[in-house]
């Protein structure tokens, strides 16, 4: 099959490599030329090293790209973690359809940062979804979906990683099915009355409120945790002595709070205990300006952090 891959990020990288390994005919790759670094390659540079044709990702938004794609006799377009909306006339160039790998269950977690929103909302399960692309973001019929549990220790990074690990095989299944019998591909329409779309917004503008229950605060911290890598949400921020402090690593203690919300009530090398409105939490790492440091090196018992 002749495949156009529109891809970014870890999932896109992994998909590209799996397609090459499976010896699929990759017509070309659409990605951002300016991602990655001199040391850590991007999808674009990896495709370049593989000798694949490449087009800058902005092209997919425009119908001016359609004639180029129409000339390629495409069977399938695969969209993997690319954030650009593909023009519907470009989608139509794929004989068997265009398909998107989405790191979240649909229709309840459409849009961006689904893994983080799921943790923030206290979900106990999540899933990765492969769906046919239609007009509208993440609206098309569901082809395959793999659910998994969200563990208490899971973070934004680990849930995203699980989505990639479980999602890439769905693409293999899709291509096998299309190759064998395209009419047998399951296509379950979404009930869009249950749709929730998440954009670029960050909960509470990234500001932490100590008057909230400890469990909600910890969920916010975990949802934002992509450490040691950059988080799409930054870190929930409190204020101390006029400075913003990002809470990077924290957990529940199971102990009642022993002071007003935001008060540092104890400290040891592993972390500091901070009172919330109900329970105490243990904060192990914080971001102060550009650096992540141990909370115990910065906070002192008796200090009171304020809301962000």
């Amino acid at each position: 099959m002749r495949i156009l891959l529109v891809a970014e990020e870890s999932a896109g990288m992994r998909c590209l490599k799996e397609l090459v390994k499976a010896e699929h005919q990759i017509v070309g790759v659409v990605a951002s030329p300016d991602r990655g670094t001199a040391k850590a390659p991007s999808v674009w540079r990896t495709a370049q090293a593989m000798g694949l044709r490449r087009w800058p990702v902005e092209n997919v938004r425009r119908d001016t790209f359609t004639p180029t794609m129409a000339a390629e006799d495409l069977d399938v377009i695969l969209n993997v973690h690319s954030l650009y909306v593909i023009h519907e006339s470009v989608l139509a160039c794929a004989r068997l359809g265009a398909f998107n790998l989405h790191p979240g269950p649909l229709p309840r977690y459409a849009g961006l940062n689904a893994p983080s929103w799921a943790i923030y909302n206290g979900e106990k399960t999540h899933s990765v979804t492969l769906h046919k692309m239609a007009a509208g973001i993440d609206t098309g019929a569901i082809v395959f979906e793999t659910p998994f549990d969200i563990a208490e220790e899971d973070t934004g990074l680990t849930v995203m990683t699980k989505c990639i690990k479980l999602g890439i095989p769905l693409i293999g299944r899709l291509l096998e099915t299309l190759d064998r019998d395209p009419t047998s591909l399951p296509l379950a329409p979404q009930d869009l009355s249950h749709r929730r779309y998440f954009g670029r917004e960050v909960p509470r503008n990234g500001r932490l409120c100590w008057a909230r229950p400890a469990e909600r605060i910890i969920r916010f911290v975990r949802a934002s945790d992509y450490y040691p890598f950059a988080s799409p949400w930054g870190h929930p921020t409190a204020r101390l002595n006029g400075r913003d402090i990002g809470i990077v690593k924290a957990g529940l203690t199971g102990r009642a709070a022993e002071g007003p919300p935001g008060t540092v009530t104890s400290s040891d090398p592993d972390g500091v205990t901070i009172a919330c409105v109900d329970e105490a939490i243990s904060v192990r790492a914080i971001r102060l300006e550009a650096e992540v440091v141990a909370a115990a090196e910065v906070f002192q018992v008796g200090q009171r952090l304020h809301d962000g």
Binding site: E9, M13, R14, A40, P41, T46, A49, E153
Partner: protein, 83 residues
């Protein structure tokens, strides 16, 4: 597999599969920008495939992936756990 064999295998994984040119076995991969979030996830999946191990994501300790030396130790510890 000996430590040296694992180390050589990891060096090959970095250069041939991940297309990352790591200068030395003790190079700080994350601190010096050789592993970003994209390549880190790719590395985890490649390690699982190549060494037949399962990396428990909920207990991910990034110290284990700081250098090629440490990754070799980690892979060895996971493989021993399987025996």
């Amino acid at each position: 597999m000996t430590d040296e064999q694992n180390l050589k295998r990891l060096e090959a994984i970095f250069s041939e599969q991940l297309n990352i040119a790591v200068p030395a076995r003790d190079t700080d991969l994350i601190g010096e920008g050789y592993l970003d979030s994209v390549m880190f996830v790719d590395l985890l999946l490649v390690l699982e495939q190549e060494f037949g191990i399962t990396i428990p994501l909920e207990q991910l300790e990034f110290d284990n992936f700081q250098t090629i030396n440490k990754i070799a130790d980690f892979v060895e510890s996971q493989a021993v756990g399987l025996e």
